[in-house]
Symmetry: C2
Subunit: 341 residues, 2 copies
C-alpha cells in the first residue's frame, strides 16, 4: 500500500522547528529510497530548506499551514483551537490513510489528545500509553518504559494491557522475542508494592505473550535486565523526568569540577570532545522517539529539544512500526485474547 | 543534658561494617571535642580499630553484641529476631535517653520498624517518613526529598504533615528559613496531578510554617528551586533510585566512551582524577544521611555503600538534629497547630 511508504511529519514542533526537522526528515529519506514524506507546516520556511538541501521533490509533499501549537498551549483547548495546525494536519494524514505514521516534536499533551480524538483507541485496549526509549549503557541497546504520561492512575488490567502492547512494540523496534517484561516497583521482593501492582503481577505472570521477569527497582531501569518496564502514567512521568534531571545535574557537576581545578582547565581542550560525545550519547531523553501506543495509527513523539540526529531517529522508529504494522498486530492480539477482568 | 553529647552508632551495618563505620565515627569525634560515642557491635572487631586509630577511650563506650541484621533479612521478622542486634542496641540507647541520636547503615526496612517500635511516633504525626538529601549541583547545597520509602500511599493530610516536618528538619540541617516547599508532580500547572496532590496543595498553600512554591517536576529536583520536596513513599522511592541509576548509567557511558576512542585512552591518566572526583561528588546517594522523621527520637540512616566520609556525614546530620532538638521542635509545632482534616 502506498500509505505505508508515506510518513507525515509535523515540521513546526520542537525547540528548533523546520531548521532541524526538515534536514532530519531528508536524512531519513536518503537512507530509505522508497520513502515519501508529507511535511506539514509553514511552506515559506520549508521550501528554502528543501531547496538548500537539494531535496528530491518527487517524494515530498508540503502541506502548508500557518498555525502551530506551541509548548505553552494548554492541551485542554486544543481540540477546538488546534484544528488547522501542523500537528493536526500530520495526524489527519494517518487518519485518512494517506500516511502510515506521523511524527511530531510538539506539545505532548496536545499530541495525545489529538491522536486519541482523530485515530481512536484500538478495540480491546482500555487506555493508550506513551512508551519511552531508555538507553542501556552496558549493551548500547534499548529498553522501553511505559506509560510515561498518557495516564495518571492505572488499574491492574490497564497495566497488563501496557505490558502486552509494550512487548509487541518493543519486539518491532528491537527485534527481541520473547520480550522480558518487568513491573517498576519499590522493591524486588514479591511482597512489595501497591495492591494494583500486586494484582498486575498475577496477570503478567500468567500471560504467554512475553517473559515476565518480576519487579524491577528504579536503579535497575538502565541495566537492560528488562526489555519492557511497565508502570502507571504518573510514576513513569516522574521516572523519565528524574533521569533526565539527574543526567543534567551530573553534567553540570562535571563542568564545575573542570572549571574549579587548574589541572582540568589546562586540559579542557582534551576533555571538550568527550563532553560533546556525552551530550550526544548519554542523555536518556535523547534516545529519541516515544510512541503513543494503543491507537489505530502510528504516532511517534520526538523530544522537543531533539537535534537533527535525534529527530531522524524518531522517524526511523515510525518506519519500523509501519513495517511491522504494529497497530494491526496489537488489534489482532487483543481480539484473539482479550484482557479478562 | 549528657545524652545530647552522646550518639549511638550501629557499627555493623552497611557494605563495609566496622572497617568504615568506626574510623568515620572517630573522625567526627575529633571534630567535636565534647562528643561521646556508643559503638554497638562486635567488640572483637571494634577494639582493634580503636587501638589502631589511637581513639580517646574516655569518650567511647562499646556495646558488645554478636548479632547483626543483614541487608537480606526480611524486615517482617525483625521485631522478634532482631532484639539482640547492634541496630536494636543503638536505637535502645535513644529510647532509654542514654544517647541523643542513633546512626545506622543497616537494612532500611528493619531500621524503620525497630525505630517506630522502640521510639514511637510523635503525637499528632499521622505517619513517619524517610527524608533523603539531594545534591544541588548549581549551588553546592542540598535539597531534601520525603517520603522516600517509609510509606507506600499517602493521604493529603499525611503529605501536609511531611511538608511541615520536612521544613523543620531542613531548617535544622541547612539553616535556611523559611524553607521553600514544593510538591513533586507530573507537571507545574496548577491543574496537574492526582486528587491527593491537589488536596495537599490546598493545605500547603494555606500554611504559614513555610513558603509553598507549588508543583515541581522530576527534572527540577536537583535545581535547588525547592528546599523540601514532598511526595508519597512509593513515588519518592522510585525517584531516589532512578536518580542513582541514571548517574551510574552515565558513569558507565563515560567509561565506555573513554575505552572506545584511542584519543581518550591516550589521555586517560589526565581523566582518572576527574572521575574519582565525580565518584565522590556527584552520586546523589552519596549525599549521605537520610533521616527517619516523625519519631520521638533521632534516627539517621546512612547508605549501605557509604565510605568513611559518607558515614561521617550521616553522623554530622545527627549532631545537627540533636543541637536543634528536632523531635521536640516537631512535637511542639504539631501540638500548637494540629493538622485539620
Amino acid at each position: 500500500m502506498t500509505q505505508n511508504r508515506r510518513i507525515a511529519v509535523d515540521v513546526m514542533g520542537g525547540d528548533f522547528g523546520p531548521s532541524i526537522t526538515v534536514p532530519a526528515a531528508l536524512d531519513v529519506m536518503s537512507r530509505h529510497p522508497r520513502l515519501e514524506l508529507v511535511l506539514a507546516g509553514d511552506a515559506s520556511k520549508i521550501e528554502p530548506l528543501l531547496e538548500a538541501n537539494k531535496a528530491d521533490r518527487q517524494r515530498i509533499e508540503v502541506l502548508h499551514c500557518k498555525q502551530t501549537i506551541s509548548s505553552d498551549d494548554k492541551p485542554e483547548g486544543i481540540l477546538r483551537s488546534g484544528r488547522g495546525s501542523s500537528m493536526f494536519l500530520a495526524i489527519e494524514q494517518v487518519q485518512k490513510q494517506l500516511a502510515g505514521a506521523c511524527v511530531s516534536a510538539g506539545n505532548t499533551g496536545a499530541l495525545l489528545l489529538a491522536g486519541r480524538h482523530l485515530l481512536k483507541t484500538i478495540p480491546g485496549i482500555e487506555k493508550p500509553a506513551i512508551m519511552a526509549t531508555i538507553p542501556v549503557t552496558r549493551s548500547g541497546g534499548y529498553s522501553y518504559l511505559l506509560d510515561v504520561g498518557a495516564n495518571l492512575h492505572n488499574t491492574h488490567t490497564e497495566l497488563f494491557g501496557f505490558a502486552r502492547m509494550g512487548a509487541l512494540v518493543a519486539t518491532s523496534l528491537s527485534g527481541r522475542s520473547p520480550c522480558r517484561v518487568a513491573l517498576l516497583n519499590n522493591g524486588e521482593e514479591s511482597s512489595k508494592g501497591t495492591a494494583v501492582i500486586q494484582d498486575a503481577a498475577r496477570l503478567l505472570s500468567a500471560c504467554q505473550d512475553f517473559e515476565y521477569i518480576g519487579f524491577i527497582e528504579g536503579n535497575q531501569i538502565f541495566s537492560g535486565r528488562a526489555d519492557v518496564i511497565v508502570c502507571d502514567g504518573f510514576t513513569g512521568n516522574i521516572t523519565i523526568k528524574v533521569s533526565a534531571g539527574a543526567v543534567t545535574a551530573m553534567k553540570r557537576q562535571i563542568q564545575r569540577s573542570i572549571s574549579k581545578h587548574w589541572y582540568y582547565r589546562m586540559f579542557s581542550w582534551i576533555l571538550s570532545p568527550l563532553f560533546s560525545d556525552l551530550r550526544k550519547e548519554v542523555e536518556p531523553t535523547r534516545y529519541n522517539g516515544a510512541t503513543l501506543i494503543g491507537l489505530q495509527g502510528i504516532v511517534v513523539k520526538s523530544h522537543g529539544h531533539a537535534d537533527r540526529t535525534g529527530f531522524s531517529r524518531a522517524i526511523e522508529h515510525a518506519i519500523k512500526q509501519i513495517n511491522d504494522n504494529v497497530p494491526a498486530l496489537i488489534a489482532s492480539r487483543m481480539a484473539a485474547d482479550p484482557v479478562s477482568h
